[in-house]
């Protein structure tokens, strides 16, 4: 139904605008047009940009890449552009977690692209790219959701199985619930040589993990009115889950200072049993040259909380077209081209997860004969089904910055979970009030 409505509104807007490209027109002809673009840079993102030349050849337009930076620097640059009124470029890299921060600068792609093209993307990704009914970014094949990596040999060990059953009363199999994850992490831990699990305890990372465990526990971060609601019973349960693992020494003592690179290196060093992590690490963990656990890595879907829902904090990269762009059709065509089936295949072939239904089918069929890759894809596809973005508030990052030190303080024992969440909720409320969102 939503798709239908989107299609109808796209059609109406296309008629009004009178300049929307039609499906058969894509990528279209734009001789003499130059599109200024600000793109995310970095080794894993660069391969796709080789296709820009193909788009130029097909359309007769030119792409002028005026900035290429990592996402955090690009974020600063875009905010500076907004501040000084210099959003005079057309196409920008964007991310579902950052998009709500740039209110009004990006145009609605529903009005520029045919509905059946937009329908070819995974619905959940399109929903996460839509803010206040405006499709502000088109997802590329850089989709992130976490799944559970584990050391297979630990679960095959007969002695482990027997001891675990005796201690916890159920069979030792890779965790399917938060409770099992916690039990097994404690069971496997033998500090300082070996730890049951770990979590990224820093910056937006810990807030994101808290957010998804909160949801799996049946809580909500912001309520229907946009008011912070995470200091609920479910919130305390979620935060206590982190605190409990920390106190039990089932996670490394430094975990509150870990970011993704620390987690990746930690699991690859063979000193961690269970690791909820992103798809980008799958190849690295199983590479004998880089990882001590290569050949011993298993992957299952992320665990369920007491509500029955799995954790599913997700994000994806994409491209947006600015409202100020003089050639929106050409810009939309470029954005479509960089996220079309061929582009997504090119990116997904290197490991990142796609955001188009057809490309999901393609990557799974490509993995035929590679048992590990198939296991990885199966786990992540299941994770993707229950995936959701961060709350779509322009103040999300600012709230995150206020909340994460409190979560850390609770984990490190400086305050109780309830105190930490109450203080965090008070600060988050103040931020939302200052921003005029409440």
């Amino acid at each position: 139904m939503n798709k239908l409505l989107a299609g109808v509104s796209a059609g109406v807007l296309a008629l009004v605008a009178g300049n929307a490209a039609l499906a058969q027109d894509l990528p279209g002809k734009f001789d003499g047009v130059t599109i200024d673009a600000k793109l995310i840079g970095g080794q894993q993102y660069e391969n796709l940009y080789s296709r820009i030349a193909e788009w130029e050849a097909a359309t007769g337009a030119k792409v002028n890449v005026i900035s290429k930076k990592n996402h955090f620097d690009l974020d600063k640059e875009i905010k500076s552009d907004i501040a000084v009124g210099a959003v005079n470029w057309c196409v920008g890299s964007n991310h579902s977690s950052f998009a709500p921060q740039y209110p009004g600068i990006y145009t609605d792609l529903n009005a520029l692209l045919p509905a059946d093209e937009i329908g070819a993307y995974v619905d959940a990704n399109i929903a996460a790219s839509t803010l206040d009914g405006k499709l502000v970014l088109l997802p590329r094949a850089q989709f992130d959701v976490s799944a559970m990596y584990y050391q297979k040999s630990l679960y095959a060990d007969e002695d482990n199985k027997a001891r675990f059953k005796e201690a916890y009363g159920y069979d030792l199999t890779p965790p399917d619930t938060l409770q099992q994850w916690s039990d097994q992490a404690k069971f496997f831990s033998n500090p300082p040589d070996f730890y049951g699990t770990q979590y990224a305890g820093k910056e937006e990372a810990i807030n994101g993990r808290f957010y998804e465990i909160l949801r799996a526990e049946g809580g909500e971060y912001l309520d229907a009115d946009g008011r912070p609601a995470f200091n609920s019973e479910a919130g305390v349960r979620a935060l206590s889950w982190f605190v409990d693992l920390y106190n039990a020494k089932a996670v490394p003592a430094g975990t509150t200072n870990y970011l993704w690179d620390d987690l990746g290196q930690g699991f690859a060093s063979g000193t961690i049993a269970l690791n909820l992590d992103w798809p980008g690490w799958a190849g690295f963990f199983n590479d004998p040259g880089a990882s001590k656990v290569a050949g011993d890595v298993g992957v299952v879907a992320p665990p369920k909380g007491s509500s029955g829902a799995r954790t599913g904090w997700s994000g994806h990269h994409g491209f947006s077209v600015t409202e100020n762009c003089a050639n929106k059709d050409a810009a939309a065509s470029l954005v479509w081209f960089l996220t079309n089936e061929d582009s997504q295949k090119l990116e997904a072939a290197a490991g990142p997860l796609p955001t188009r239904d057809a490309v999901w089918e393609w990557v799974i069929s490509e993995a035929e004969g590679d048992a590990y890759r198939q296991e990885v894809l199966k786990a992540f596809q299941e994770a993707a089904n229950g995936a959701y973005p961060v709350p779509q508030s322009p103040s999300w990052i600012e709230i995150s910055n206020a909340v994460y030190p409190k979560l850390q303080a609770a984990i490190l024992g400086d305050m109780t979970a309830q105190e930490a969440l109450d203080e965090a909720a008070a600060e988050a409320t103040e931020i939302l009030e200052d921003a005029g969102e409440l």
Binding site: K79, I82, A253, N257, D262, E398, K406, A409
Partner: protein, 298 residues
């Protein structure tokens, strides 16, 4: 009509003044003005809302800000003193070398060639409690059977950051002091020897007063560097966990860009600048005193 004709020297200096005004004075005034507004990068219009001293009031009554301020002063004090002592030792050792001094000088400068971001990553992994080389070495040597949480415990994290800062910048002191040692006339030292001074006395009463001005110049430069210390701390702990290693610039950068609250961040910066001015003024006073003592003409 005879209009006003400026003097030639005013005319000649005018371009320099214009450039200075454009790149220094105007941005400074603009940022000062914005510190009296609730300016948010994502809401450009907010720069026109004047809120008086509200940002400053907010900061001055914010406990977290003052803790970060105090920690920055502490970091400055420890880092500068330790760097000076180590730099002095290094310079004295290198100066004693009779062969290969040039190679030693080059090697000594290696850490300065690394970008602070790289140094931050390097030390973050070295001090990682689980896979870091520091804990692994301590455990292998049997000195501990614990995973020491270097970057978690407030004091240990402070030490870890201090070590990274000192590793990357002690060479600045060493180079300045070495320059002083090399420029020093030999006669006073020889006279001291003839008068029967012990090596320690020669150092205390002859060498040290002479190299002191060089050390103070290095201190002034480094104090500004450390007062702006950002990269290493950002990478190693980003002020965390739970604000245990927060210093002024990690706090200001987060407020300015991540939170997009540029007005508030500018107000913080203006208070932070006072700290830099204070340290610089202090070192310049010491420098003048030291120069007077050795009767320097420069």
């Amino acid at each position: 009509m005879r209009g006003w004709k400026p003097a030639p020297h005013v005319l000649l200096l005018l371009p320099a003044f214009i450039v200075l005004a454009a790149v220094v004075v105007v941005p400074l005034l603009l940022s000062l003005y914005s510190s009296f507004t609730p300016f948010r990068l994502t809401r450009p219009d907010s720069i026109y809302t004047f809120i008086g001293f509200r940002n400053y009031e907010r900061i001055l009554t914010d406990k977290d800000f003052w803790i970060a301020f105090g920690r920055t002063v502490l970091l400055l004090t420890f880092a500068l003193n330790l760097e000076m002592v180590l730099g002095l030792v290094l310079a004295l050792l290198v100066e004693k070398a009779t062969r290969g001094q040039r190679i030693l000088r080059t090697i000594m400068m290696f850490p300065m060639m690394f970008s602070p971001v790289l140094v931050g990553f390097q030390f973050k992994f070295m001090f990682n409690d689980n896979i870091g080389i520091v804990n692994n070495a301590l455990q292998s040597l049997g000195l501990t059977d614990q995973a020491i949480p270097w970057l978690i415990d407030g004091q240990l994290a402070f030490i870890a950051i201090l070590v990274a800062e000192i590793w990357s910048s002690t060479a600045v002191f060493a180079i300045f002091i070495l320059a002083g040692l090399m420029a020093m006339p030999r006669e006073p030292l020889e006279a001291a020897k003839v008068d029967g001074c012990t090596p320690l006395q020669s150092f205390r009463y002859v060498t040290w007063p002479f190299v002191m001005p060089f050390a103070f110049i290095a201190m002034t430069i480094r104090s500004l560097d450390i007062a702006r210390a950002y990269d290493i701390v950002k990478i190693m702990t980003d002020g965390g966990p739970a604000g245990r290693t927060e210093i002024l610039w990690t706090m200001i950068a987060r407020t300015a860009y991540s939170d997009a609250r540029m007005g508030l961040a500018n107000a913080m910066s203006y208070i932070a600048i006072l700290l830099s001015i204070l340290f610089t003024a202090m070192f310049f006073r010491q420098l003048a005193k030291a120069r007077q003592q050795i009767g320097a003409e420069w």
